[in-house]
Amino acid sequence: MDAYRTMNADTGESPAGVYRRYLESGKLGFQRCSGCGKAVFYPRLICPDCGGGGLVWETNSGRGTVYATTAVYRRAADPYNVVLVDLEEGFRMMSRIEGVPADSVEIGMKVAFRVAREGAVPIPVFVLQSEAP
């Protein structure tokens, strides 16, 4: 059994804390409502769909599709990219695609999750599935 499954806010751990711990172990955690079955992201204490309080942690395949993309241009620096990714498990999250020029990312691209590090902080990013190991 997935050890993380037993963790939730009732045990005194915050949704953000559990999410961070998943990232530390290289996984993308999300919640599923035990009442209505909907996938929930970002992590929280109440189901935004049915209002139930029984959100159970799961990890996912990390496979998704780019739903929306934009390139943000900065002075004297390469643009960076911001995307919304639809995960196979049924939730949408904001992230960025790495390994591709910011303005080359397209809606519908198949992408895979991985953890990047900014200092000690684990950051959820995506790469093209064709370039994922």
Binding site: S14, A16, G17, R44, L45, I46, C50, G53
Partner: protein, 176 residues
């Protein structure tokens, strides 16, 4: 025309109080209190069509709270006037219900100010300003052990009171 007797408080609840664990957000506490208040009222989240909130953390709190809770209200109000915001929300909600703008109003607030450092993280110069000065002086003296700021030489203390009524900044430095 009076609002007296036209609406009723049908459920109330508090989130966990005092210090909460690391990572809990003001919105988590909003979620917790909302679950409990709906339970107290015997209502479902889908019954809520009016949303009222103020926040020290979210600039447009009815948007953040609406997203967190998954509520798309017919009517919302984010009037912010400090601690009396929620009294005004009660009046506004009663008026909105009376006017038919909504039927079930949720008035909600969450803060992790104490867990985030209490008066050390955010302060009011009128009531607690001296605490910030004490904190700054002890930091400059290097007296704080585990929460001692590294190489503290200059401290800036700022208090933000009522808008345009009390803005105070002091700069303290080590001598020698």
């Amino acid at each position: 025309m009076s609002l007296r007797g036209k609406t009723a408080l049908v459920g109330v609840a508090e989130s966990d109080l005092g210090k909460v664990g690391p990572g809990f957000t003001p919105l988590d506490l909003v979620g917790q209190a909302t679950l409990r208040a709906l339970d107290d009222a015997g209502l479902d989240k889908s019954d809520v069509d009016g949303l009222f909130s103020a926040s020290a953390y979210h600039h447009m709190p009815t948007l953040s709270v609406g997203e967190y809770l998954g509520i798309r209200p017919r009517y919302s109000d984010a009037t912010s006037m400090g601690g009396s915001s929620f009294v005004s929300h009660l009046f506004h909600a009663a008026a909105a219900i009376d006017a038919g703008l909504c039927e079930v109003a949720l008035i909600t607030y969450g803060s992790t100010q104490r867990s985030g450092g209490g008066s050390l993280s955010y302060n009011h110069p009128g009531m607690y300003g001296l605490l910030l000065i004490v904190e700054a002086v002890r930091q400059l003296r290097g007296e704080y052990g585990v929460r001692q700021a590294h190489e503290a030489n200059i401290a800036l203390v700022h208090g933000n009171g009522g808008v345009l009524s009390s803005q105070v900044t002091a700069i303290l430095a080590r001598s020698g």
